[in-house]
């Protein structure tokens, strides 16, 4: 007997781990993520993430660009919900400039941000379903992501990297077709959302694959700087929209869904419910907009809001303002601000330091993905390889936001 025990201990000592490169370009990682996994059979012992494959030095570039040219950098961060990034950046600059935004523009921003949140969650949740082996839900859900992109297209002309709006409002009033498409979306999407949910939420295979997969406790999540749906799945009801309302979110009624275990299933359910809340917010915004004059689409801030092209060619003042804005002759107060919005994945923050020059002295993006992705090794330790894939997709790490 004693001999046998000795034998097993030597076996443990001699145990060899295998190393597996998960990524950087693997279809299951949905982006450029490399993880060097140490595996004991199919169990993950350790993971070392390598990031920075699509680092594009946005913070450096932002220090050399006039304020109005930085918007295009922000929508290349979380490209699944670029309008939130755009609006967040505009609001940060408006806070620095002390610009008062008309209610109608604020509600329009709320609509477009909630649409972006829905499209972000559509991607995340349908990808969770794909990674757990259910492809059909994904195909149906992506039709509605397409519809959201069509709405973006009506509003600003672009689909993915939107560069939507300007500092002070929107570049043009929304066309009638945009409102019609929003109505169509509100009418058709809830049906699809329910159908998608009914495919998965009580599905035995799906529940077995996701419950207790990649869990994180509320305390660890807070310590790791989690925000957004991933934090709420762990049971902390922190939502920037409710805690530090921006763009008149205080005018809206919505609930913040929270989970309990912080596992993949909870993250899925929280995102599902958030989509419903977003739909409700959009409906409320549409009702509120009916009472407001429908010609206002920007604040009256000629100092920072680029005038329409036809005025530039025909009016002296517009030409002067156009020239001043483009050449960066607009006075900007000295100061520093931190502005946070609730992005698709969590608190998207802009720390903007201005020295009064034409470009920011420093612009730091608080990118939620970058901050919570460091918890990934801890979350998948002891899990199976296939669970690691599901955990990654349920965290909804977007490579562009991770690497800036």
């Amino acid at each position: 007997m004693a001999q046998e025990i000795n034998k097993t201990t030597t076996q443990v000592e001699e145990k060899q781990y295998s190393t597996l490169n998960l990524g950087p370009t693997h279809p299951a990682t949905h982006g450029i993520f490399q993880n060097i996994l140490t595996m004991d059979g199919e169990i993950i012992v350790d993971a070392v993430p390598t990031i920075g494959y699509i680092h594009r030095a946005f913070e450096k570039i932002a220090e050399r660009r006039p304020y109005y040219q930085i918007t295009v950098l922000t929508d290349r961060m979380n490209y699944c919900s670029s309008p939130i990034n755009n609006m967040g950046y505009h609001m940060a600059v408006e806070k620095l400039l002390n610009v008062e935004i008309p209610k109608r523009v604020q509600y329009m921003r709320v609509i477009v941000m909630e649409l972006a949140r829905i499209s972000d969650h559509i991607i995340c949740n349908s990808v969770i379903s794909v990674d757990s082996g259910a492809l059909s839900g994904f195909v149906y859900m992506f039709q509605f992501r397409e519809l959201i992109y069509e709405i973006y297209e009506e509003i600003c002309g672009a689909r993915l990297t939107t560069n939507m709006g300007r500092i002070g409002g929107f570049e043009r009033n929304w066309p009638k077709t945009a409102w019609e498409k929003i109505d169509k979306f509100l009418h058709e999407f809830p049906v699809q959302l329910d159908e998608f949910e009914s495919l998965l939420i009580r599905n035995r295979i799906f529940m077995d694959r996701t419950i207790n997969v990649g869990p994180i406790s509320a305390e660890r999540a807070l310590n790791y700087g989690f925000t957004g749906p991933n934090l709420r799945a762990a049971g902390v009801d922190y939502d920037v929209r409710a805690m530090n309302p921006y763009s008149s979110y205080e005018d809206f009624e919505f609930t913040i869904p929270v989970g309990t275990n912080g596992d993949t299933y909870d993250r899925f359910v929280v995102r599902q419910e958030e989509m419903r809340q977003s739909l409700s917010i959009i409906r409320q915004a549409l009702t509120k907009l009916k009472t407001l004059p429908d010609t206002v689409y920007h604040a009256e801030v000629p100092d920072v809001f680029l005038p329409p092209k036809e005025l530039v060619y025909n009016q002296m003042e517009a030409l002067i303002y156009h020239f001043k804005i483009v050449m960066g002759e607009v006075p900007v107060p000295v100061g520093e601000i931190y502005h946070a919005v609730e992005g698709g994945n969590g608190e998207l923050g802009f720390y903007l330091v201005s020295d009064g020059g034409r470009t920011p002295y420093r612009l730091h993006f608080r990118r939620p993905c970058f901050i919570y992705y460091q918890a990934y090794p801890e979350m998948i330790k002891g899990a199976m390889l296939s669970d690691a894939i599901l955990t990654l997709s349920s965290l909804n790490v977007i490579a562009g936001e991770l690497d800036a």
């Binding site: 920075g52 450096k60 050399r64 660009r65 330091v353 460091q374």
Partner: protein, 170 residues
């Protein structure tokens, strides 16, 4: 109904604990901004973290700064954004570092999230965090020599002659 904690109360407690170590404090737009010496930063963070009335348990962000135009002992900075989720208070803490001694204690023992934020700050500014478990570059390649977010690191290719600086920003 209990009264809401204010940032002034937090400041009073900090001043009572650290006295003149709090070098400056001002409201910058909507956020209280304080400056502390680099060697006390961990003590300040710990005090805020352990405070029972307003626990600042959430490190929102941490980033580096470079001020080449200032005196040598103030050329680099690290900015911490803290958030107390229970009373919804935010606080910005700044430290300044001497250009020849870019070293500060790590906050990663207190906040797991500081790990990558500090690696990012090291990567871009060359600020070393003492006691950090794995202080290597994170977004740039490991054999890179310069620290690209420093103001003296050029953004454009320096061999280009068609782009004059005064026409394109700073």
């Amino acid at each position: 109904m209990e009264t809401k904690a204010t940032i002034e109360q937090v400041m009073d407690r900090l001043v009572a604990r650290f006295g003149s170590e709090i070098r400056s404090s001002e409201m910058c737009y909507d956020m209280m901004t304080i400056e502390v010496p680099a060697h006390t930063i961990i003590a300040v963070l710990q005090e805020l973290h352990d405070d029972t009335a307003t626990p600042f348990r959430f490190l929102t962000s941490l980033c580096g700064m470079h001020y080449p135009h200032l005196a040598k002992d103030k050329q680099f900075g690290v900015v911490y954004h803290m958030h107390c989720l229970t009373s919804n208070l935010r606080l910005r803490i700044k430290i300044y570092l001497h250009a020849d001694k870019l070293e500060v204690d790590t906050a990663s023992a207190l906040f797991a999230t500081a790990n990558w934020m500090e690696r990012e700050t090291f990567d871009f500014y060359g600020i070393r965090f003492k006691g950090h478990p794995n202080l290597i570059r994170i977004l740039n390649m490991e054999d890179m020599v310069p620290f690209p977010m420093r103001k003296d690191f050029p953004l454009e290719d320096q061999r280009r002659e068609d782009k004059a600086d005064e026409m394109f920003g700073r």
